[in-house]
Amino acid sequence: MPRTAETAKPCRCERKVAHVIKLQDVSYVRLGTADLDGATKFATDYLGLEISHRSKDSVYLKSDQREHTLCYFHGSAADQTAAFEVAERAELDMAASELDRLGHRVRFGSEKESELRRVRSFIAFQDPTGNNIELVWRPAYSSQRYHGERDAGITGFSHIGLCTTDAARDEIFWTKVCNARVSDRIGDAALLRIDEVHHTIALFPTDRAGIQHINHQVASGDDVMRSFNFLSERQVPMVFGPGRHPTSSARFLYFEGPDGMVFEYSSGVREIADELLYRERQLPFDAKGFCEWGAKPQIKEFRN
């Protein structure tokens, strides 16, 4: 991939990597908001999540068996964090020293912060674009199953879109420093997997840092369509779909939530079972690369 002069900042992640950080799963997203009540109402009544617990200035929301997968807290809407699970406590220390070696400032979470996040321990850092990332160890599972506020058919929090200001550089970070693999590319936007699911992280070129969209899986294509009608009737802005991604084969619907955050429902995401035989594909960065039904995206990062 050609690098322009503008993006040719020294990228330390291209140095030899001593330890690959093994991401096990995406755990949760933390979003600041000036209107905690409004955001909570959207997350429960519209998106269909269940309130897991509240603290003084935060609401923790549940979408599957995990204790929570989304947190809205009172703060700036630009304050956004995505968290990934690692398998071992030692992985946190190794990741911290590796990230430190590559020039990322790493912070160990306090006991109180860990308790609020319902994790044993975590570290926080920024990826090369400046996205806030947390690595968590032993995030809590719930003894009670998820029961949504409405029957959206949600089966769980599944993936995130991340903003990137340099797609080539960040692809190297997530695939060389971390264990992600490229499943497909739409233009320069890389869809990355960390397990058999087609993508858990998607990097979308743009001019800012932050979370670009938040995906929840639903049980069927019928659920996608029901939500399209349910949310349309309630004037929730539809920004893309209903449609079907040629990359992951998932049926999708994108709509806007509080503070302009884009949420996605999708169903039927492809799984990549054979790592050796799979070869990533290049799709065009236009409406046809994003949807095989003919829907046209109204999402800034999905348009030229």
């Binding site: 369509m225 009608n229 449609g243 079907r244 039904w293 003919g294």
Partner: protein
């Protein structure tokens, strides 16, 4: 009792044959077959045609169903006369116009014209559509009825069809492996409500949905899924007052006879995705209008 073999065609009247033909070809995506001053026919599958637009004095609105033998026509006419309905055999000219060997017609209690045909023409050539709409063939026809109970008796007592399910007072009727080939909807006037074409799968249904939007064709119901037949559907306005639909998926008729199930009247019983419905007959049904008492 007459045994219906299959649904064959819908014939529609138009006073603008050129634009009706353009709609059939460019919007629905059917293959043009015959075309002259008063007639345009269109293929959707192995049948020579399944849709005909006609203008002039020979134009009628009718639904065509195939029966096997000319004796079936006699038996049908006898039964229909017993119900007091007007009916008759088609002339040689009528048959030639429809590309069938023999035929009979009757008017149901509402005034819908139904045609029974023997040896309708099949195409020896495979279907080659005007655009890649993914059409598999004519699926079913929805008919309006002003007296559901009496019109239903024609289908069940003379023509051997069975009720698959009810949606409010509306009845889905089957006579082959499909969940339904004819649906009767209570209405204030007679006429074909919609002609429905099957498309390959959900992808084709949704592609057509976006294409219709680009072509600025008004979608009046759907995309949605019917609770009774589990069909995906997309219903849109046609060139005249007859609607067209694309349908996909759906359950086949059970091999074992089962009881018809009762679903709610109106949009709630016709779509379980909650899609917007702009079809007057369906919305009226939800409010107990159409002059039908809501017994459920």
């Amino acid at each position: 009792m007459v045994e219906l073999q299959q649904l064959r065609y819908a014939r529609l009247i138009t006073d603008d044959l050129r634009s009706a033909a353009d709609f059939a070809q460019r919007v629905i995506g059917l293959e043009p077959i015959d075309r002259n001053q008063e007639l345009a026919t269109f293929r959707s599958d192995y049948r020579d045609y399944t849709l005909a637009f006609a203008s002039g004095e020979r134009a009628v609105q009718s639904v065509g169903l195939e029966v096997r033998y000319p004796q079936d026509l006699d038996a049908a006419i006898e039964g229909l006369r017993g119900l007091g309905l007007s009916s008759g055999r088609g002339s040689a000219e009528d048959c030639a116009f429809r590309k069938v060997k023999d035929m009979a017609w009757f008017m149901d209690f509402s005034g819908n014209r139904i045609e029974l045909v023997v040896r309708p023409l099949n195409s020896g050539w495979r279907y080659f559509p005007s655009r890649d709409a993914g059409i598999r063939g004519l699926a079913d026809v929805m008919l309006r009825t002003v007296d559901l109970e009496k019109d239903l008796s024609i289908w069940t007592e003379i023509l051997g069809a069975r009720v698959s399910d009810w949606a409010g007072e509306a009845a889905y009727l089957r006579f082959d492996e499909a969940h339904h080939r004819i649906a009767l909807f209570p209405a204030a006037r007679p006429g074909i409500l919609a002609v429905e074409y099957a498309v390959e799968d959900v992808n084709l249904l949704m592609r057509n949905s976006y294409l219709l939007r680009d072509l600025q064709v008004p979608v009046v119901h759907g995309p949605g899924r019917r609770p009774a037949s589990e069909q995906l559907f997309l219903t849109f306005a046609g060139p005249g007052d007859v609607l067209f639909s694309f349908v996909a998926e759906g359950v086949a008729a059970d091999t074992e006879p089962r009881r018809p199930r009762q679903f709610p009247a109106g949009p709630a019983g016709l779509c379980n995705w909650g899609s917007e419905c702009k079809i007057g007959e369906f919305n009226d049904a939800a409010h107990g209008r159409n002059g039908q008492a809501m017994s459920v």
